[in-house]
Amino acid sequence: MDAIRTEGLTKHYKVGFWRPRPYVALDNLNLSVGQGEVFGFLGPNGAGKTTTLKLLMQLIYPTSGYAEILGKPVGDVAVKQRIGYLPENPYFYDNLTAEELLIYFARMFGCSASEGRARASRLLDEVGIGAERRFQLRKFSKGMVQRVGIAQALINEPELVFLDEPMSGLDPLGRREVRELILRLRDRGCTVFFSSHVLSDAEALCSRVAIVAKGRLAASGSLDELTAVGSRGWELVVSGLTPDVLKRLMPRLTRATPLGDGRYSLELPPSTAPEPLIAELCGARVVSLNPLRGTLEDVFVEQVKATGSGARLMEKVAS
Amino acid sequence: MGTKPVRKHSPLLWVYLVVLLATGTTMQVVLEGRLQRPAAKPGVHWIQSPGLMRRLTVGFNAIWADIYWIRAVQYYGDTKLSLDEKKEYDQLYPLLDITTSLDPYFNIAYRFGSILLSEGYPNGPGNTDQAIALLKKGIREQPNKWQYYHDAGFVEYWWRQDAHAAAKWFLEAASKPNAPNWLEPLAASVLAEHGERDASRALWSTLKETAEHDWIRKAAERGLMQLDAEAHIEILEPYVQKFFDKYGRFPKGWQEMTGGPERWLRNLPRDPAGYIYQLDPVTGSITVAKDSPLFPLRRRIRG
């Protein structure tokens, strides 16, 4: 059983008051996420990531299509016992303290007050909220609210967690901590579905990703699959390179970066074979030669460009 | 070389504040003395229509009725005490009308309102039509309240001197549930002409006994004193007539009656409130003094 499965999931909005035109937020999304995966849901701003999450949480209703969580249609109350959700830019109840919020949510899962308190305490420790847990949420900074948000998503020890931009508002230390938390969740067997537009996080964490742009699925698969498409050239590190040799070689290079100590990092485009170049080094010595693999960023930019420009534009629905 | 601590505001600002406040207050006081006090009229900004008022205050009619009642009482008092040449009570009935439209069960507004409306000028508008109209309104809302019928009869009898109409009201009052048993005898004695003053006395006395409010009780006491004054005047008049018969003119003052060889009167005649009666040297008529609290006596039925 897949943790998450969507079939033809589509959402149109009507925009404009006098002559409402349909606006495609999501178009025919087919996705499946297996249990135990850390799945990255990537895309530029406005691509439909948050729309997808809201459809999965049944905060909004699809125009057409179908989605399933843990084998049951979305919105199933029994399934909600087993999942957690962190919304984008979360906001909770200002006059509650962090502790009170978590206990409030814990009780909805059937925990007693004391068990709720215990879980809240544990989770607040895990997300790095110390004595501030007794303060009202109105006093919390954005980063602290984000941490509380993560804590409330985990209050019921879920099998499947949905995180919408989990790193948002966090400083580098915080991001590192969240990354480690996600890995810990994975090790516990939890499925993690997170959306982001920060690719380095996805690269570090995900087993599989999907890239959406302009409401459509542009690419999906494991990281290896996606980045293996074509070699992107070579990196040749040399030492003892004289300036006039460098000048002669420049036309065939993408880039030459001095590394100090007379060393250079030369980037060769895919079209240039490295062997003949090495032969023309005239005394400079080869330190290393490595093929350049595509980064996720490259894949991303390419795919997004392929579906049109990254900015959202109004679009008529193809009838 | 120390540094001065940074102060938030110069202390001079406080001085300015105090001076300004004092100046403002002084100017107020000066202006108070110079400005003329406005007349004690309720002003046209009060809404005049009972129906509109009732709709505007939906859900909160009772409290607005109270406000209008306070307003009516204040208006009456201010007008009565004002130093105007001609006192105008024209807003009294509209205010009472609104009060009773907002709260149709506002007992005291009907009863005391009718007393205020009937009160003779200059102590009141002396408008018995309005007084009876107000009571009739109360009767429409609570047809079984004998007190309203009784009050209407009172106005007819005391102010309009219409004994027959009064008796009809008293009899109708007597037919209402819980009516006291003195209403029928009262109606009877009202109709018996020789019993006129006795009937009045009985009316005022029972009102005094059963009055629910201090103010009504005081009004009743005053009425009784006025009756005594009337009786007193009736006793004095023959003596004045005797003087006329002897001297061919009316006395110039009471001294001529208390002094002189005949000594018709022993002391200067005073009304029950203690004020000396007024004797008109031209017509010979005797009335209570203008500054007596019993002024004015109603027009008397002779006989």
Binding site: - | V58, G59, N61, D66, V73, Y105
Partner: protein, 268 residues
């Protein structure tokens, strides 16, 4: 059911921590206490004005809380998006609406009880300090237990207004919701005028329309027994029950409507 109770408890806790709510109740108590001053002006009608003012204050403050807090119940959660995380928990939208409603009703009834206690406190003082001779003039005793009937019906009215506020707030903006809820309150109190408009306005079509409106809308004048209890007039238990039952039907209708509308709504 448990979810409803938890959400209701949350609303109640919110209201306790809300300074505005406190201020309003405090203000109404101050108003009642200060009615003593006004009583001096009424030519012997002191008990009446104190009672009138107390009942009016309780009703007005309750109304204010019911409308403004009632509308905020749903709209604040949706606008600020705290509802996103809430609905990801095992809570349905139905339970959400009902929990919010019951929470505010609970708050209102407790506020009303506090105001009733203060009310009787003020009257106790009046009773204590007034001479027996003056009490003869009172149409009803100061500590008249029948006034609780007025409080009870004010409570029912507030429950209805709260349901109305929630209903409008599920589909329209806060400003419009406030305006429409007020309109329901005012129309509900016009009562007789609507039914008999043809006596006032010279029109053929309009009286039919308003008569229809009169029968569809709740008749709030049936719940307004303030004047009757102050004057010591009888208020029959059966009429109270009937008015309450009819209001309960309206409340249920409004809540069902709210749930239907809210369940189908996209929460942007």
């Amino acid at each position: 059911m448990r979810a409803i109770a938890i959400i209701a408890g949350g609303v109640f806790r919110d209201s306790i921590r809300d300074r505005i709510g406190y201020g309003l109740v405090f203000f109404s108590i101050m108003l009642m206490a200060s009615s003593f001053l006004l009583a001096q002006l009424t030519a012997g009608q002191d008990v009446k004005i104190i009672k009138d003012l107390g009942l009016a204050a309780a009703s007005a403050i309750g109304l204010f809380i019911a409308i403004f807090f009632g509308i905020g119940l749903v709209t604040k959660e949706v606008e600020r998006r705290s509802i996103y995380s809430l609905l990801s928990k095992p809570v349905t939208r139905t339970q959400f609406v009902l929990g919010k409603y019951l929470g505010l009703v609970m708050t209102l009834l407790i506020n009303l009880s506090v105001m009733a206690a203060a009310f009787y406190g003020v009257l106790l003082y009046l009773d204590f300090t007034t001479l027996d001779g003056a009490k003869v003039a009172w149409e009803a005793p100061a500590l008249d237990p029948r006034m609780l009937k007025a409080f009870a019906l004010i409570g029912v009215e507030l429950m209805l207004i709260t349901a109305t506020a929630i209903f409008f707030s599920t589909f329209s903006s806060p400003f419009l919701s406030v305006a429409m809820t007020f309109a329901v309150y005012i129309i509900g109190h016009f009562g007789e005028d609507l039914k008999n408009l043809n006596a006032i306005v010279k029109s053929v079509v309009l009286p039919y329309i308003t008569k229809g409106v009169y029968y569809v809308m709740p008749n709030l004048t049936a719940l307004d027994v303030k004047s009757a209890v102050v004057h010591g007039l009888p208020v029959s238990g059966s009429s109270m029950l009937l008015a309450t039952a009819s209001c309960l039907v309206y409340i249920t209708t409004l809540l069902v409507g709210s749930i239907l509308i809210f369940s189908r709504r996209d929460l942007k």
